[in-house]
Amino acid sequence: MTITDLIDCVRVTFAFLVVFGAVPCLVARISPGDRNLMSFCALAVRTSLFAAIAALGLGSMRICLPGSMLAGYLFLFLMLLWMAGSLEPLWQPQWRAALLHKILVFNENGHGTPRRLSAASGDRLRHWRIVREPAFLLSMFIAVAALSHSLQYVRFLNDQSYSRALSLQKLALGQPWTPDGSVAFLAPVVFLSSLDGATVVRFSGPLFMAVLALAGFAAVRGATGSSPVGLAAAAGLIILTAFSHSAELQAGGIALIFWLTGFSLWARYRWDALWSVALAMLIEPIPELNTVLCVSVILVIVFLARFGEATRRLLQASGTPLATAAIVCLILIPLHRGKTHGSQYNITARTVARITREFPRNTWLVVSPVQEVALTYGHGWHMELSEFVETYTVDEVRRPDFSFKFPVGDTFVFVEKEPLTSRSMASGLSELGPRFDPPMAPYLLRLNRASMQFQAARLLAAYRATHRGTEVFLEDQQLIVYRIRG
């Protein structure tokens, strides 16, 4: 973990809280209505749906850019203000004169009237009892546990995370983009944090995990009226997700949040419940097995708690042990799977992140497997290792007059000294099954990957022997990165 990782984590957390916390709060202040937790959830669903639809619409026109998104939010707030009648005074000169007078008086006096916490505010806070619930504490622990892993590891454990990171980065840069509901509503977080898609996906996952625990708790508690049962259900959800996705929340996990929120809202806010379901389906149009399983588990827990006294007691008693188990799973499973799963060494991802940070934009090229595209996109250039080894031969690069002629200042060639092997890799294409993805496939075949790395190592060794401007940028037990100065 570096200071930069910590700062990035704070930036994403701040942007996340603004987009999914402050914006609904602001909407709640503008719109008349209830001031309780469920109404806040309903508003959070509406604003998230707005963000998702706006990003999907703008992204399809390749203009999902900070200015467009800001304009979208401004439009939303102006509409709400107009509907609440708050804009009417603006057209009255007396109101404007009074405002100017207020400013002048403030200016002359040099201070304003101190605000006091009114009785109404205190009453409003009483509705937010969830902060005193053990589930809130659990979600905080979950966030910390999952974030500690994200702070430590730059690489992802699931291929879907790379795809989502690249998709989000393309969306935020206004590039051609295949609509993807699982990242669309994260566009405001990217703009506000000013970080790339990969970093936002990396740090928003743990935060969504904490939200998932809260959503699970709220759904079950609402249906059963028992907080310990809710705690047990939330912990159970986290354990299931930790096993199924190595504790990295994917589209299904995020959709699950909105399925559960819809379930919680159904009793009092029918329309918002429907919006929530709509958002869940935008994020994951065809629910995966894990989503169905988790929803089924929640329904079973609700059924057992409502209709069986003994099972209800058992569930109540198992809340705390399950919560502890959930946190342990969140810490241990990624650690264990990090050794056996994954399509990228952590040192590789960290080195790419360092290059993007330290070198001027678009003045460098990274030659490596396809996974690094998600980390370099929008910062610099990337060439696939397969293309590199196919384009050049050892005899060719050995010649002193040979030059790669890349139009950049620095070229970084990543060569795995110990070719990556993990359970996510296969020995043949047929083994990949549904995971078959043409750009990824060459690197997911063990022998193919090893062969490419070997060829790259030979090319670089031959080139280095006759060319001075080549140096080792980084070397450890698993990886060596060559830097070729342009």
Binding site: I63, L65, V105, G174, R361, N362
Partner: protein, 504 residues
């Protein structure tokens, strides 16, 4: 009539345009404006009402003849030159660019440095635009009432506020540029250095413009440019650093000139500065402050939009578009030639207004309004004619050079020529509305114009190419011109009232 005639009904030595009252209504207005109410008329002149006093005084007042000495008026050419005198500094910069390939700012620098200079320049204009306008409003008023001491104190107070605003906005600019990586380090620092130094220069030249000493702005620019040449050529200092030093020296020269001129005014008028209230100043000058800020926002929004069009292969998020800038600078040159008319036209309009008012009584109000409408229409037609001539001339001249190299630049030039012509008309209307004390009309036109500029420019640049930012600017400028024309025509229906109200 045993009492002496009220002073307002007698000729004044300092008013060459004085004329006897046209009728009793005119006499009553003059008496009431001079503070002679019914009570004063009874107490000091023995008449029961102001109206009776006016009726009594009218025959006596008519015995005075209209001043035969014509009002000293500068020629239209001199007024025009005075109107474009603010651009002498710019002309010097162009000359320096032709001689040395660089000037006080700008020149042959890297893409990132060009973006930094551009960003710093735009932000300095937007930050100081409002301050300079508000300062000029207060300064000109205080000088016109011969209170040079307070004018001097007020100017320096606005300068201090300007420096504070520059520092605060510079810090904000640096923070945003770092956080959102608009420019790679250390170019963001260069942007802030240009923002601060140029901002100081604009504050100083703003005072000189207010004092009608624009030649001194040119002198300051010349000194600064020579300093840049010396530092860059003789001492081999990097161009950007030499330019920042040169701008600071130019600002110091300009501030020194301001110091002496303001001190001269103070000594000439005598007295001590009156206590000032910032709240009062804000209350009086806020429309002018907003106008200054919004005007530069309107003028520069298109550039900001063009510079920030996403380009995945670019070295930074903000990119200076040289070809677009060249096209706009050419159109800006045409705008300066047209804007010179604003001052002379405004002076001529109000001269005609003042003289017509003295010739036409209340019974001939409709004739008076028709005459003023005719003057307005003639002057506006003059603007359009000059705009057409300037635009066609510039376009033809540019077409015979290699200044613009691609079709998109020519498209941008055509749109910008239209836009700046509309802006000149809008400024002419703005000048009239400000003189008629109707700043809210100006702001009411500027705000929708900026919105249109930004919204249309944003959509066109993001969906098309960055050259289309000029379309947004032209649409905004046209809307500004149309809305201000509508306001002027509306005010023209009661121009006598608005003129009187603005003078009182």
């Amino acid at each position: 009539m045993n009492k002496p005639l009220p002073a307002c009904l007698k000729p004044r030595a300092d008013d060459p345009r004085w004329a006897p009252p046209l009728d009793v209504n005119d006499a009553v207005v003059r008496l009431e404006t001079a503070g002679i109410t019914d009570a004063v008329a009874e107490r000091e002149y023995g008449q029961r009402t102001t109206w009776q006093l006016a009726e009594a005084c009218l025959p006596w007042s008519r015995m005075f003849v209209t001043a035969v000495e014509p009002e000293p008026r500068r020629s239209a050419v001199l007024e025009y030159l005075s109107g474009i005198s603010f651009s002498f500094s710019l002309l010097l910069c162009c000359l320096a660019m032709a001689l040395f390939r660089f000037s006080l700012w700008g020149g042959d620098v890297s893409a990132n440095m060009a973006a930094a200079v551009g960003l710093g320049t735009v932000s300095s204009f937007i930050t100081t635009g409002g301050i300079v306008q508000a300062m000029a409003r207060r300064g000109i008023f205080l000088i016109s009432v011969e209170d040079g001491a307070t004018a001097e104190a007020a100017c320096w107070r606005w300068v201090r506020l300007g420096i504070f605003c520059l520092a605060a906005s510079g810090l904000a600019l640096l923070t945003l540029a770092r956080f959102y990586t608009w420019l790679p380090a250390p170019f963001d620092l260069a942007a802030v250095a240009f923002h601060l130094s140029l901002g100081l220069l604009w504050l100083a030249t703003g005072i000189l413009h207010m004092l009608e000493r624009n030649m001194w702005s040119a002198v300051a620019t010349a000194v600064g440019t020579l300093m840049v040449v010396w530092l860059h050529r003789a001492w081999r200092i990097e161009l950007a650093a030499a330019q920042v030093v040169g701008i600071l020296i130019a600002a110091a020269v300009a501030f020194s000139a301001c110091f002496f001129f303001l001190r001269d005014r103070r000594r000439k008028h005598g007295g001590c500065p009156r206590p000032q209230s910032f709240a009062f100043d804000t209350y009086i000058a806020w429309p002018h402050f907003l106008f200054g800020t919004f005007y530069y926002l309107l003028v520069f929004s298109d550039r900001l939009l063009a510079w920030t069009v996403p380009d995945i292969g670019a070295p930074s998020a903000v990119q200076f578009r040289g070809d677009y800038e060249t096209a706009l600078d050419i159109a800006l040159f045409g705008f300066i030639l047209q804007a010179g008319n604003v001052r002379s036209s405004t002076v001529a309009f109000f001269h005609k207004l003042a003289s017509a008012q003295k010739q036409l009584g209340l019974s001939r109000r409709s004739v008076f309004i028709r005459q003023m409408k005719e003057v307005y229409a003639r002057r506006s037609a003059g603007f359009l004619a000059v705009a057409a001539l300037t635009s066609v001339g510039l376009y033809t001249a540019v077409a015979h050079t290699t200044l613009l190299t691609n079709g998109q630049s020519y498209t941008a030039l055509i749109w910008a020529l239209f836009g700046f012509s509309a802006l000149a008309v809008a400024l002419w209307n703005t000048s009239l509305l400000f003189r008629l004390a109707q700043p809210s009309d100006v702001l009411g036109a500027l705000i929708p114009a900026i919105l249109l500029n930004v919204v249309l420019g944003y959509a066109l640049t993001r969906l098309g190419a960055y050259h289309y930012a000029a379309v947004g600017f032209t649409a905004g400028a046209l809307l500004y011109a149309m809305l201000t024309t509508r306001s002027v025509l509306r005010r023209m229906q009661s121009i006598d009232y608005y003129y009187f109200a603005s003078a009182s």
